[in-house]
Assembly symmetry: C2
Amino acid sequence: MPDTLTLSLDAMGGDAGPEMVLPAAAIAAERHPRANFLLFGDEKRLTPLLALQPKLKPRAVIHHCDVAIAMHDKPSQALRQGRGKSSMWLAIDAVKRGEAHAAVSAGNTGALMAMSRFILKMLPGIERPALAAQWPTLKGQSVVLDLGASIGADARQLLEFAVMGEAMASCLFGLKQPSVGLLNVGVEEIKGLEEVKKAGRLLRELKLPIHYHGFVEGDDIGKGTVDVVVTEGFTGNIAVKTAEGTARMIATLMKDAMTASLLSKIGAALAFGAFRTIKARLDPSKLNGGLMLGLNGVVVKAHGGSDALGYATAIDVAVQMVKNGLTAKIAADVEEVNALLAQEPGMAAAIPPGDGA
Amino acid sequence: MPDTLTLSLDAMGGDAGPEMVLPAAAIAAERHPRANFLLFGDEKRLTPLLALQPKLKPRAVIHHCDVAIAMHDKPSQALRQGRGKSSMWLAIDAVKRGEAHAAVSAGNTGALMAMSRFILKMLPGIERPALAAQWPTLKGQSVVLDLGASIGADARQLLEFAVMGEAMASCLFGLKQPSVGLLNVGVEEIKGLEEVKKAGRLLRELKLPIHYHGFVEGDDIGKGTVDVVVTEGFTGNIAVKTAEGTARMIATLMKDAMTASLLSKIGAALAFGAFRTIKARLDPSKLNGGLMLGLNGVVVKAHGGSDALGYATAIDVAVQMVKNGLTAKIAADVEEVNALLAQEPGMAAAIPPGDGA
């Protein structure tokens, strides 16, 4: 773990932009006394905002950029227009150049993934990145991946996702052996997609230093059956958005019902503390900070709609990952997987080489 | 629409079995005064239960069967052991033989799908069945399919699912032109799985009598953006179970929070009516009745955990489908699709023939 820690922030990213990122950096500066901050963005906007944060100011440097990636730019467009000069590009590039330990952005997810992959490259032996996030469960939190960094995954890629998600969960939750499950349509070994079944076989039979639980189903995510839920990006993206939609639907129904009569309003007021407890458990700002896994460097994606507290949580995630050596852990784990696969030619032959990109 | 309506019930299916199915049939008999019931199951158990339902009795006939399919039997095992003699088999077979207009079972889903397909066969031009269910949304309900009847679907199959889901929604909700969306990881046309994009192109460009909305994302399901959400079975199964898991997690957190202090208990008591309203909106017994679509006959799957009221709702669904001519509608729609595809050789060439099973 480095003595001091430098974080590069894309100060223009997110719906609220610099007016949210700078107060977030100030919160993070208090939480992490040895952290320094590189702020990438329009200096005319950043300078007066930084002046409002006396504790952050001595530990932050503004790097001016003319270009900001819009939230709805296409990744290809963002790469073209933002290459070498946008706040997002330069924040990631600071990690590449060794000037920062990790980058954080609340900007356009597709652009952030494309740029991160372009600038940092993948770790050796990993073909595709995965987007991983924390998911609230009845037991606490789990890590779920891939949430849409790519579409489809073969058995080897699912295995890589398992290794990467396990590394993230151990860095994030401080668990020694997080349990890992493969998302499937049933828990029996004969069910599901061919590649998921193959990945299950590999996870069971290879002597990986991973606590493989087996298949899990959609409702196991919310139960917290495992610490890490692995799936390919199409399904993962739809699962996470379906869950968000369900939670939002229930919250809306609840709000409508609670304000429908005087009695329910009084009840809601008395139960206010209880509602606050639930809200805190499901609060996206407490579970903020998705990770782009598989890259040669740490890049954290904060929610586009983050407030300062939420963005500060995403910075916490970046700090945790750097402190606990996420990138080195993933690199070592993947090397081990590949060595094991090489020792088991039968099993390696059963799956295609890692060239599915 | 037939003058009288005969429903065949698998009286042994479901966690609660005949003790739930017979009271359910009694409720349905009151709701549908022209309906008759064939009850398949162990006559020693059914006879005394039927004696308790004086209004049902004159309109119900018990057909004794020795075998009941267990809730966790594998489909292959169920087919082997239950063929020609189980309550599930005979209930479906009554539809095949023209003795009943529709079958209802709360039994083992996999077995019900396998037997239904085996006995009733697919409608001409449809390669694979789909399992469709009602989903609660902010606007009311939607139909979502496929929830796991098969794994993976090519563009033509997704098109068939769209046609079948649209027919179900129009029969169920009485809508003239239900809107149909394809579940994807983004709403832009360039995103997502190749087969989903192809299906989107077909739905946009063929002159189908379908109100095609476009791509929808996971959170659109709960919002009620469209009346029919189409996806392949792997993703659909995971989406529905993830949503169930999320709703259950929130309900548990809520219950815990509401009973955590005296104040919150009083609040919860005062807001009881409001909670009841929400519960009613999300109540599975009000949204009960999944359909096996694409078969040459109507088979309704009630939840395994149905109570009598829930099972009665599943019977309502069966009645609606028969009254509104679901099977004929699907057959006609699919014929139209195939005729349109034949007129557009370019487009037909872009997709594989319907042989993906």
